[in-house]
Symmetry: C2
Subunit: 323 residues, 2 copies
Amino acid sequence: MAEECVIGVDLGGTKLLAGVLGEDLAVHSRTYRRIQGLDQRALLEAIVETVEEVRASAPGPVAAVGFGIPCLIDQRRGMATMAVNLPLVDVPFRDVMAERLGLPVQVDNDGNVAALAEQRAGAARGASDAILLTIGTGIGGGIVIDGRVYAGSFGAGAELGHMVIDMHGPRCQGNCPNYGCLEVMASGTALTREGLRIASERPDSGLGRALAEGRLVTGALITELAHDGDQAAIDTLALIGSNLGVGIASLLNVFNPDVVVVGGGVIAAGELLLAPARAEAARRGLPPDVAHARIVPAHFGTEAGMIGAAALALDDVRSRGAA
Amino acid sequence: MAEECVIGVDLGGTKLLAGVLGEDLAVHSRTYRRIQGLDQRALLEAIVETVEEVRASAPGPVAAVGFGIPCLIDQRRGMATMAVNLPLVDVPFRDVMAERLGLPVQVDNDGNVAALAEQRAGAARGASDAILLTIGTGIGGGIVIDGRVYAGSFGAGAELGHMVIDMHGPRCQGNCPNYGCLEVMASGTALTREGLRIASERPDSGLGRALAEGRLVTGALITELAHDGDQAAIDTLALIGSNLGVGIASLLNVFNPDVVVVGGGVIAAGELLLAPARAEAARRGLPPDVAHARIVPAHFGTEAGMIGAAALALDDVRSRGAA
């Protein structure tokens, strides 16, 4: 008898990744599509086509589809209420997709589903309470409590990047009106900003010379120079890691989690970021919370959203099976 | 037939308050006892005696007892892991009480049970997701998600007073090693500290004159002068309220709650504290979260802990009835 499958879809600002996964969240097949610049109608059409394409490759019947989307979700209506890069606001996304695909559909924020992926099959496997921070251009968050995604009364919570850590800090980016929140203090954007500042202040460092040579100071460059031993680059990552640790201390005190998982592009810096983050969190957190929680790098990279979206679909299938 | 009752006990640093409550959380009778300075054995004895005393006045059979205690709790073992003012660390409190009283016992942090009281029968009644901040000498927190207390993987979370809002701020108090957390920025202690500073800087204000006359600058004095129209006192409360609002913005973004309830002694200042807190939270929080959440004063005063502890006992009775 053929195994029952689910489809997980990670919808990014520029591309979508869809996969067929089994009950163990192993990926049977995947497909990828660029969606940048599409209007709403073309985007919805592209999503349906991609899901149908990957569905045709499934080794068994597909029971449900899960979506991770980079938007603030209103779970009361299954739709996006704030979306930076996608024309999805005010579409009843869940219901439209369910109708077009003829399958049960679940949708959640990309940070939330990535957290679910880590808790089910990644760095927080076996833990019941886990927090994920995904550090890229911004900082996404996800909270898993007792093995389930928690995102607030109607799904607009878990915006962990928008906890304040420095009330006198700089203005945040995008739709966030806040000042000194974790995102503006510890994201890839903050890493670049601080890297530029430190490069100017220390012209004799590797980072300073790179700037003088006209190289673009990016998170990737800072990480590369730090891995090569440049102290200015190491210090830049340590500063961002330390800011991250302040936010993690708050999360430890509020959530008393088993595990805090740190993912996203910036985690390429590995222990150069994580060790200062752990030290700062340990310096500030309440002792029982600090003693209990592990702070670890993410297991999944670019497939976290797709795998977590599939886990969401799988939970839906199981809860209907149990009902 | 006699109504089934529960007993709620609020164990403070200096006194305990115990009450018999009905299924509607109405208080049938209450008793009060000073416990300051007792050693562990005398304290446990005093608790048992007080519970037995109030139990004798119950109009029907008592089904369970709930305790709210001012300690970090380890729910895995039903005991306190950090207690500032009470000799309760490393006593298996829940099991000792259950054995001595011959009744099912539940125990939780005082902030958590106060949040439950507000959600069941107070300012957050009818809401499923509520946050309570109790502002006294310190800041206690409580989180109710889907109508149940949430306090982390083993109960050491919900320490909302120890979220960082100003990473460069002053060192926190007591057992907290943190800097610039909400407690050190927006508690009664912070109110007094800022009141003293503002009184020195503005000697011609009512607050400044009170200081010059040798009056003790307390939260109560600042509140009294502010209610009388003294601008320095009003500004002091607005500063603390604004700091509080920074913390509330983080809570809105993380929890997307229906209601944030502000209680504790400092809420005697009413709108002089809450209006600046609401304004700052609205300025910083993500729009959907800000639009959804109410920020309101607590309904219960000194009985919140007792009523919430009774609610905890009642939940326990019901969950066993349902099992």
